[in-house]
């Protein structure tokens, strides 16, 4: 039955790949126009850490996260079809989540690959090197979109399809605004509140770094990954519980 979700995810990934292709071409053209570049990103080190590429992949997958999170709650018309089959509602939901997670992983790989292609196109492929934080970065790369997915799923789990679409669309501006507000000077009580909220913000985690003052949540990537995975592992089951209890 998760075959439906498989088809949907496949469709979304195709669109995503097309979008990536466009971005890839555009970036390449821009960089070519500037006469090539040498890579100085990676915060002072020469070259590009593979971990950073993977995190970029995670950032790309966040676009997919909000889309996928709307699929299950948006099923309301098909519930009489889905919920009268010899598959339990929870099993169905977890299978959907598994397909979505795989889709997001594919998104990470695709985005990272696109970045590698751009870099290779600049002849700078040797600038890429493995960095020690790669495992933590990889965990964060999947954790942050999953956290996004879980939070959106939880917010939308009881809504009707039009509400679901709105939640998905609002998630981006909401997370961006919270992240921005956390870096702005605010009255102490409000600041504490916003910073607290920011700790639920996957965007803040993926954009953060272990260096204080740059990025949003200051911690090593394994720590940030753990926080994201915790959010995901709390919100997803909660969302599934709410979803399976609705009226079909």
């Amino acid at each position: 039955m998760e075959y439906v979700e498989l088809l949907r995810v496949r469709r979304a990934l195709v669109s995503f790949a097309v979008a990536l292709a466009f971005v890839l071409i555009a970036v390449t053209l821009v960089l070519h126009g500037k006469g090539g570049f040498t890579i100085h990103i990676g915060f002072g080190k020469e070259g590009v850490g593979a971990g950073d590429l993977v995190m970029l992949g995670g950032f790309g997958a966040m676009f997919l996260a909000a889309t996928f999170a709307g699929n299950m709650p948006g099923e309301s018309a098909a519930l009489p079809f889905l919920w009268t089959k010899p598959v339990s509602r929870a099993a169905l939901a977890y299978r959907f989540v598994a397909v979505d997670a795989l889709g997001m992983a594919a998104g990470i790989v695709a985005t990272a690959l696109a970045a590698v292609i751009v870099i290779a196109g600049m002849g700078q492929i040797r600038a890429i090197h493995a960095n020690p934080s790669l495992p933590g970065d990889a965990a964060l790369a999947l954790g942050a979109p999953l956290a996004w997915y879980g939070l959106t799923l939880l917010a939308a789990s009881r809504l009707q399809p039009d509400g679901v679409a709105r939640v998905g669309a609002l998630s981006w501006p909401l997370f961006i605004v919270i992240a921005m507000l956390a870096t702005v000077a605010l009255p102490p009580a409000l600041h504490t509140f916003v910073v607290g909220l920011d700790h639920l913000n996957p965007l803040a985690y993926i954009a953060g770094s272990e260096h204080k003052g740059i990025g949003l949540i200051a911690a090593a990537s394994p720590v940030r990954a753990a926080a994201c995975w915790t959010i995901a592992l709390v919100t997803i089951p909660a969302a599934i519980r709410l979803w399976t209890a609705r009226e079909g």
Partner: protein, 291 residues
């Protein structure tokens, strides 16, 4: 066997179902009648836990509804529940992955019966074709339990007949069938049990033959239009009618006793007439006219 007991459902202050109970033994076809809004669809949904009943339960072959029950249960909802962007073939594919008991050859036979093109997307189907697809999906697993909410809605007369034949075939193999319909004529031939809902309550239910035997018209002709005053106080009479010199009693039980009582009251001739089932059902659906 399908056993529904005391289903009650409220939406806010509105009581949509009030203690609905009915029984469909194996091999039996039960027709569910009632006006729109009487609670037929809610009865199905609460039985299948698509809606949460406030009280009451539905048991299938003696057991409460379980995930495994759906392995042998076919359901056709009142409104088609399909994926608009998937084809007919893809829907069958979904079903084949979900059920162990899915019979692909049977499904293909049924597609042909209902003249469905496997390549058509669900959104391109007419209302009748959507119903037909839901029926194919339900019957492809050769279910022992069938819950059909308006299964002939939108179907042309030939396909309505084909659907009835499928239902009868299933019942003769021992399946329990509960189906709601506005086509009272279909019910009379195909069903052996009936339940009539009005405002969320069951107002008439049971074996159709038993109802026939109990619900009769006793027509008594009196000379010179003479009526004894104690006659209208008889037990077991739903309502009375005067038609010239004739007095008609619509019985709800024991028509022979009523006939005997009228004979004793001095009627010139008494006869017991069978009631047209359609009229009987219509009366129950609409509510008795006040006497």
């Amino acid at each position: 066997m399908i056993a529904i007991e005391g289903l009650t459902k409220r939406y806010g202050t509105r009581t949509v179902l009030d203690g609905v109970s009915l029984n469909v033994p194996g091999g039996s076809i039960c027709g569910l009648l009632g006006r729109n809004g009487a609670g037929k669809t809610t009865t199905f949904r609460c039985s299948l836990r698509l809606a949460h009943p406030d009280a009451g339960d539905a048991r299938f072959d003696g057991e409460p509804l379980r995930t495994a029950t759906f392995e042998r249960l076919g359901y056709v909802p009142d409104r088609p529940s399909l994926y608009p962007w998937l084809t007919v073939e893809q829907h069958l594919c979904l079903a084949s992955r979900a059920y162990r008991s899915y019979d692909g050859a049977r499904a293909r036979e049924l597609l042909a019966t209902y003249c469905l093109d496997p390549a058509d997307k669900a959104r391109a189907l007419s209302r009748g074709q959507e119903t037909a697809l839901s029926l194919v999906l339900a019957f492809a697993i050769r279910p022992a339990l069938l819950l059909l909410d308006e299964p002939t809605g939108g179907l042309d007369p030939l396909l309505q007949r084909a659907t009835l034949e499928l239902i009868i075939d299933a019942a003769s193999n021992g399946a329990s069938v509960l189906f709601s319909s506005h086509a009272v004529g279909q019910l009379e031939r195909a069903a052996d049990r009936v339940a009539v809902l009005r405002d969320g309550r069951v107002v008439l239910a049971g074996d159709i033959e038993a109802l026939r035997a109990a619900e009769k018209i006793v027509e008594a002709t009196f000379d010179d239009g003479v009526f004894r005053s104690d006659v209208p106080a008889l037990q077991g009479v739903r309502r009375w009618e005067h038609a010239g010199a004739a007095l008609r009693a619509y019985t709800e039980r024991d028509p022979d006793a009523v006939a005997a009582a009228l004979a004793r009251a001095g009627a010139r001739s008494v006869r017991v007439l069978d009631r047209n089932l359609e009229d009987l059902f219509m009366d129950a659906i609409a509510g008795e006219s006040p006497r």
